[in-house]
Symmetry: C2
Subunit: 198 residues, 2 copies
DNA sequence: CGAATTGTTGACCGTACCGTCCAGAACACC
DNA sequence: GGTGTTCTGGACGGTACGGTCAACAATTCG
């Protein structure tokens, strides 16, 4: 009996995500969101609730997509160590530097909102723990494959790798030269992944 | 001939800094700043200009104080490597975790504003380059003192250490357990600072 | 004491904010 | 075709926003 939706929820979430990503949460107005989504006020509020709820949904979907992508890359990587390296080096992959300047929506949001919004902080913990688990798995595989020192504690290395990646993300946001950024990622990786004694 | 100021500029800058630090730039209103500074509107605008100018001044003074502190610690450290270790471990120093949750004003601001404000991005580049230089000096001293592999390229290690510290700062902001955060810092340091072959 | 200069206060302006609400439109089912 | 249900668009309200301004206060110098 009901009237059907005229819009695709996923498209709206993506459009809204980009707005939050580029401007930050507080600096993005509801008018901005209406503009980029193309919806009217009643539709947006009816389908997603207020600004805060919409943002949290966008953030969760962003994180979930991100985790799915990492698991896929782990599954398809030739070697476990490749996935770990790509995780860090990928931050500086775009030669124009645009992706690095944009950074990560989760990292940006955590920095902006963690103090005032426990939900965002909790989401960040959830996401980073999941990433750590994936990296740990990748590193354990790398140990079996002989690419990483089997005596290292994989979970500990995973956390250090995550920290390094987050640092590279933070540096990328400053707009520093992409070549230098790549060098930072490369040198951090070289030291964090202990090579097996031959 | 003029009427003297009734307030201390430095106190105002510190109070305003705390407001921006805790709430972020966009979420802090001019009314908030008037409240925490205790000034009237005319005084604040007369002495510091608009919100944006005031923020940039606060950020610059924060950075300068930060760099001064690092140089002092380098000067007073018993060994160069101690200063480097303290730089990373200090993030998780507060056992209550409050300092870690608060994070770094520069890192928070860069994540929130780098896209929309070139001034903030430039300030971040300036600050991180200066920190890299200080860390490089500390690491070169550590090499002379026999605490770090003399064959390592100090500037490269310095950049990796900075990335690791920024990563720990980012993780700290999520409110994760301080003990775990300390372990992350410790394990990253252990791998980033190549010990000299004995 | 008077003139000149700067600091202070808070009223005021126009705008933009977020969220609600309602009248009408579009469909499904009978 | 009628009825019930949801969706849509925009008008509307109350508030808070950043910033300006003018009147008044405090001081220094002549």
């Amino acid at each position: 009996m009901p009237r059907p939706r005229e819009f695709d929820e996923d498209r709206v979430v993506l459009a809204v995500r980009d707005a939050f990503w580029d401007q930050g949460y507080a600096a993005t107005s509801m008018d901005d969101l209406l503009r980029v989504s193309g919806l009217g006020k009643g539709s947006l509020y009816g389908a997603f609730g207020d600004k805060r709820r919409l943002f949290l949904r966008v953030l969760r979907e962003y994180d979930d997509a991100n985790l799915r992508g990492l698991r896929e890359r782990l599954g398809s990587a030739a070697r476990g160590v490749d996935m770990v390296r790509e995780f860090v080096l990928g931050v500086a992959d775009d030669p124009t530097g645009a992706a690095a300047r944009r950074g990560c929506l989760l990292a940006n949001s955590t920095a902006e909102l963690a103090t005032s919004s426990p939900d965002v902080a909790a989401e960040a913990r959830r996401s980073y723990e999941a990433i750590t688990a994936i990296l740990t798995e990748a590193l354990e595989r790398a140990q079996r494959e002989g690419d990483v020192d089997p005596d290292a504690y994989a979970a500990e290395v995973a956390r250090a790798v995550l920290a390094a990646q987050l640092g590279v993300v933070a540096l990328g946001r400053t707009g520093m030269d992409v070549a230098v950024l790549t060098e930072v990622a490369r040198s951090a990786l070289a030291r964090l992944l202990p090579a097996p004694s031959p």
